[in-house]
Amino acid sequence: MATAARRQPITIPRQVPVLPILGLALVAALVLWLGVNLYKAPYDFLEITLIGVTVGAIYALVALGYTLVYGILELINFAHGDVFMLGAMMAATLSVNVFSLHDNEAASKWIPVVLLSLLIGMLFCGILNATVERIAYRPLRGAPRLAPLITAIGMSFILQNVGLAWKGANYVPVPNILPQGNVFNLHGANYRWNQLIVLIVTIPVLVALVYLVQETRQGKAMRATAQDSDAAAMMGINVNRTISFTFLIAGGLAGAAGLLYALYVTNVRYDQGFQLGLLAFTAAVLGGIGNLPGAVLGALCIGLIQNYNEGLNWHAPGSDWTQSIVFSILILILVFRPEGLLGERTPEGG
């Protein structure tokens, strides 16, 4: 354009964009590594990808809990992972002690039990999470931001010890209740029924969550509170009840995740919730905290990265390094792109 040509040349000191270049280089190296692995053993890669998606789906349920709570209170709910763990223990108790299920149970028996356990587990965790909020976070509204963060850590330890007292320090085994047969087998790459069932349970839960947040009155109240709690209160929204409801929903998601984890991984221990919670929190940050689709995307990424790391053959660091890798991702994301992949926002709307 002519106008552009006439513009005075402005001398802006050119800075080499070091950080973005470094970030891109890291991503390129990751893609290259994945590409070589795909080329060397494509069917292994496929199988690992499918496992990663399954695990990622479970992480997504937990990550959504973090992101919902962060969106509304700007609080990292450290206790969330432990609520999830107690949910998994609940599932183990229900399936083993109450309904006494065994390996390879008949479909007519495990389907109603799993559905019932899902319901009970979600309710249990939801109420537990809302109670945690009531005890540990609500009295600290308006306190310095460190205060609820510290009570969150305290609560996390308390719940962990509840699990310890309940089930002891060892792994709690859960029988292979879900069918282990193949859905399909592609040149040695298996996709098993228990993996598919995880998705079959997860997807309706996610759809229900989206419906709840987008379409219902209560969802509207959640979004309004997340955007601006003062304004929401002025509009007549009961902010405290909305926050409790958010914790209830987040806990319900953790309960669903706990059941799926117990059935899919088939062992639970009192400290697993904290570890998995950190992974899920990383997922939430990766997707952009407060952003619901972001949490799901981030969780899938983390699930895939974890399983690629632990499963691939060509120069994979292995499970010894999973924690370090996930935390490195967290640190890199926070340093390079704190708003996450999809951008930080409050549950739909901010």
């Binding site: 609080l75 306190a143 310095p144 510290i150 308390i158 962990q160 390094w321 935390f327 926070l334």
Partner: protein, 461 residues
Amino acid sequence: MATHTGIGSWWGDRSVIERRLAIGVVAVVIGNLILAAFSSWDRSALYVSFVFLVLYVPTWGQMPVRVRGIRVGRLFLPVALIVIALTYPFFWDKLFEVPIFGPFPEVGTGVYMLVFIMMAIGLNIVVGYAGLLDLGYVAFYAMGAYTVAWFASVQFAKHSLHFGAVGVGSNVPGFHVSIWLLLILAGILTAVTGVIIGLPTLRLRGDYLAIVTLGFGEILPQIARNGDNLFGSGFNLTNGPNGITPIDAPGFGSVNYLTGYNSFFTSDRLFYWTALLLVLLTAFCSWRLRDSRLGRAWIAIREDETAAAAMGVPLMRTKTWAYATGAFFGGVAGAFYASFKSATFPGDFFFNISVFILCMVILGGMGNILGVVLGASFLAYLDREGLANIGGWMNQHFGPGGSTFQIWSVPIDVPKYEFGIFGIILLVVMLFRPEGLIPSSRRAAEFHEGVHDQPLYDVTQ
């Protein structure tokens, strides 16, 4: 005011100090009577009563006696504490048994407590002064411990370097540098690590910073755990899960801390007094730093970052200094502890320890050195001896075949639930007394006045 007669008017006429003194004396008398009833009373109870009085009357500082402009009363408490701590190795085993808590901690536990006091003072600089929540303090502890482990053990057996090490034969392979130098080196290396961790992350919001420090606190121990074969190169940096042991003990000349010098300077006592010296140095530095230009900048940042920046406080540099200083003390403490324990294992450095130290700072009172010292010594004592003693007492009285009455039929392993108990402490302190047991008045005001833009919904509750 209506005039009272008798004790009421006497009470009304007293000053705060006198009232507290009166309550203290009454409490001491009652306490001694109770102890006598439990038939564990002896002269040491009087000694403890004196300590209680000193600790109970924190208004000593307001006594109007001055020498050269310094209030004598203010020195009362610290000096008493130091004297008690210095002489503790001579009388700990002659003391009575406290009901429920059992005997007083032994000198080795004292060293452990002192090491954690030092770490807590270091963390207090980060959390209490600068208001940055650090959930990965254990990384600094690990860094210090491994520094000593590398330079004062047979870990790198291919090399041989001896420099001032005591009690190590000259034909022993590996690096053997004097522990005193290594303490400084560990501090510096850890401070550098702190700066490296801090530079990219200190820009982040408070809660993000917490989670990133947590991340570093998990990564460094994992490197230690997997460091026996780094990246498949066969290079053994940390000896993996087996840890590095033995580590040289400190010493000078013919005094070797490992074996002790004579029946007076036993090994435990040497370690104890050295640790005490380190703690005093740390506390002194921390105290002087707080009132320095840098310390005031930290407090300004804690109270209002925006206002501090507007007043010309360089945020990044000030925060990085807080990090580096806190890390320095953590590193020195870790290094000393590794040398005392003569070993370092990756299993020592997990997230719970970070929270353990944080709990000390919060229980005692963020920002207040004395509070942090008391909080740290109490929790470190609980960790080492207290919980086991309390558990034993509980099981003896209420456990299977309990001497009082039986409540539970299987003995409860109380130390197993240690971190649950610490979680409860964190929760209860934050909910009911967020400024800690012995608060700094400034921090207390912050917690009680709250943040200025108090959310509206708090009112509708």
